[in-house]
Amino acid sequence: MFRKKGSRLGVGAAVLAGLAAPALAADGVSYRQMADALHAVMEADRTVYTRVVVNRLQNEEKVITASEHWQDDKALPLPAQMFRFGAEMVAERNAGFTYSLLSLWAVNKQNMPKTAVEREGLEALVANPATPFYKDEVLGGTTYFTAVYPDKAISPACVSCHNGHKDSPRTDFKLNDVMGGVVLRIPMQ
């Protein structure tokens, strides 16, 4: 699980995670540490966008709305879309890891769990929201370190939108419920 000293992953991890910590690179970084660091950035950005941009401007100030069809509606992208656009941009750059936002109750059925590990991870988060889930899995002949982090309903807008969406398979979400999970994968060497 742990990388050897001075491994390529160690250097890459520090760069990718934006960590100015040479000691980390020199000593190597575990897959879990790297995943946790990347997720910390994702979660922080996602929370800032949801609270400081969408909630403030849409719900409090009421100056602009957020919409699934943000281009046609001249609106803000939904927080989940914002997150997905970032994931797509990272995927296009072939940055050495991938991530996605999945749920057992996804609005878009393409975001339901597909692999056994995704399902196991998402179910584990529902049972134990405080603990991320980690497991290795083999996909397309490559072994991945897969981490699944809880994605919670951090604002009333998350709850009302999902509960009211005609494509939502679940309509009884409450504030702070685990609505899904961020699945992050790093190919193992």
Partner: protein, 468 residues
């Protein structure tokens, strides 16, 4: 002895012929400097075409290096060539099946059945025997590979043949901007004929006023009169000056020298190259180079002529070389002439020949005769070279330009709905009209005889929300 000498001569001749043949082959295939323009080398290339090209690429099929950027190139270089021409369009279309969807490891299993990380997974060139509409070389039911379970998620789709997803007018693999469910619902009730039927109009003056690259230092946006022209006496013919005075050029302060003088030396150029137009009309010029009229030039080939077209063309126009002035003329630069007369001067297919008797043409004639408001007529260009929105993220504004890449709104024809049809018609009518191939051939003279059920299905689902 004689037999041996004869044998040696034959061997030498054979070696020489082989060397010459190999040299010609190598030159034809690998010499990229205008090889397709040299008759001998072009013949070599033609002989080695591995199969007829699609209608999208046939104009540039002898410029092999446009797609095969390296000899025996790898898949990455081919993919880069695809995206070099088509990438922006896919991004603008909000491509529903982008690369990132397929590089995600969670889709590795799907990738095993269809490696959609490459355009050539579905669009193999030179394979006419397996090529269907939209240059697709997958079986017509390719959607089933990933969406096998759609009938479970959408009971209304249960039992529908997977060959009909894209051919019914309901779905498009890349561009669903006019087809997505909430869009169908939003426009479900729109009547066939909208109360206000005006096409988007040019906003070039508005753009020139704010575009930093517009040469307003040399040509301030102020009207010029007859006495203010800057052409040398021998060039200042009555025809040229009077033609110029009637244009937006004179009204916007664009003097003769803007096109006719070399920007570095100020020397007079009697016949400016097309690049001169692109100095101010960059978006029009660039999109011309992406479309059927200008793509040969972009590939480093000579200009397109109707003789090289696959569509039916008028014999008299066979050798007309296409550049800006071919359709717009020079000096008077009539956009009205360019919008209909120029098109029909070459195009002779059924759809084009039916134009004059169509309701659209009647509206156009009324506008040209000033019997109807500006923007109420429908010319060839209204649909095939419409005003398109363009964002300048680097300058923080967006504008409208004349999209000179006909294919941007043509194939599949649903791409035309939002930028064109919906200026005048409701969505349901537009979907039906475009799905009626015979009506398209008649240039929309009459009512649609087919009905695309997608709006009905979306409305039914909305009414019974939660039941599916």
């Amino acid at each position: 002895m004689g037999g041996m000498r004869h044998g040696r001569v034959t061997l030498h001749l054979w070696l020489a012929a082989t060397a010459i043949g190999a040299a010609a082959l190598a030159a034809g295939l690998f010499m990229t400097e205008r090889a397709a323009e040299r008759p001998l080398l072009a013949q070599v290339r033609k002989a080695f075409l591995p199969g007829a090209t699609t209608s999208g690429h046939h104009q540039i099929e002898l410029a092999c290096e446009t797609c095969h950027t390296t000899a025996f190139g790898d898949a990455d270089s081919m993919q880069a060539a695809c995206m070099g021409c088509h990438g922006d369009e896919l991004e603008a279309a909000d491509d529903k099946h982008p690369l990132s969807k397929f590089t995600d490891p969670r889709n590795a299993e799907l990738l095993a059945s269809l490696d959609a990380t490459r355009c050539v997974a579905c669009h193999i060139e030179h394979r006419p025997e397996i090529t269907t509409a939209m240059a697709v070389t997958q079986p017509d039911d390719y959607c089933v590979l990933c969406h096998r379970d759609v009938g479970t998620e959408r009971p209304s789709h249960a039992g529908l043949a997977f060959t009909t997803c894209a051919s019914s007018g309901c779905h498009n693999f890349h561009d669903n901007r006019a087809l997505y469910e909430d869009f169908l619902l939003r426009h479900a009730a729109a009547p066939a004929e909208l109360p206000r039927q005006i096409r988007p109009l040019a906003r070039f003056a508005e753009t020139a006023a704010v575009l930093p690259t517009y040469p307003s230092d040399r040509y301030p946006l102020e009207p010029l009169g007859r006495a203010q022209h800057d052409a040398p006496a021998e060039a200042a013919t009555v025809e040229a000056i009077e033609g110029w005075l009637g244009t937006a050029h004179a009204r916007a302060g664009v003097n003769c020298g803007a096109c006719h003088r070399d920007s570095a030396t100020a020397a007079w150029i009697a016949a400016p190259a097309v690049e001169a137009c692109g100095t101010c009309h960059a978006l029009e010029s660039a999109s011309f180079g992406q479309g059927k009229h200008g793509m040969r030039g972009s590939a480093g080939l000579g200009p397109m002529t109707p003789a090289q077209a696959r569509l039916p063309m008028r014999l008299a126009a066979a050798e007309t070389a296409l550049d800006c002035a071919t359709c717009h003329g020079a000096h008077d630069f009539s956009v009205r002439r360019a919008a209909v007369d120029a098109c029909l001067g070459c195009h002779a297919d059924r759809h084009s020949l039916a134009y004059e008797d169509s309701p659209h043409a009647e509206l156009w004639r009324r506008e040209v005769a000033s019997d109807a408001p500006e923007g109420s007529g429908v010319s060839c260009a209204t649909c095939h070279m419409p005003r398109a929105e363009h964002r300048y993220p680097e300058y923080d504004f967006k504008t409208w330009f004349v999209q000179h890449n006909q294919n941007d709104t043509l194939r599949p024809s649903e791409k035309m709905i939002r930028p064109v049809c919906q200026s005048c018609h409701g969505l349901s009518f537009a979907l039906d009209a475009l799905a009626d191939a015979e009506l398209v051939e008649r240039n929309f003279a009459g009512a649609p005889s087919v009905h695309v059920p997608s709006i009905d299905m979306a409305v039914a689902r909305e009414r019974g929300a939660g039941t599916e």
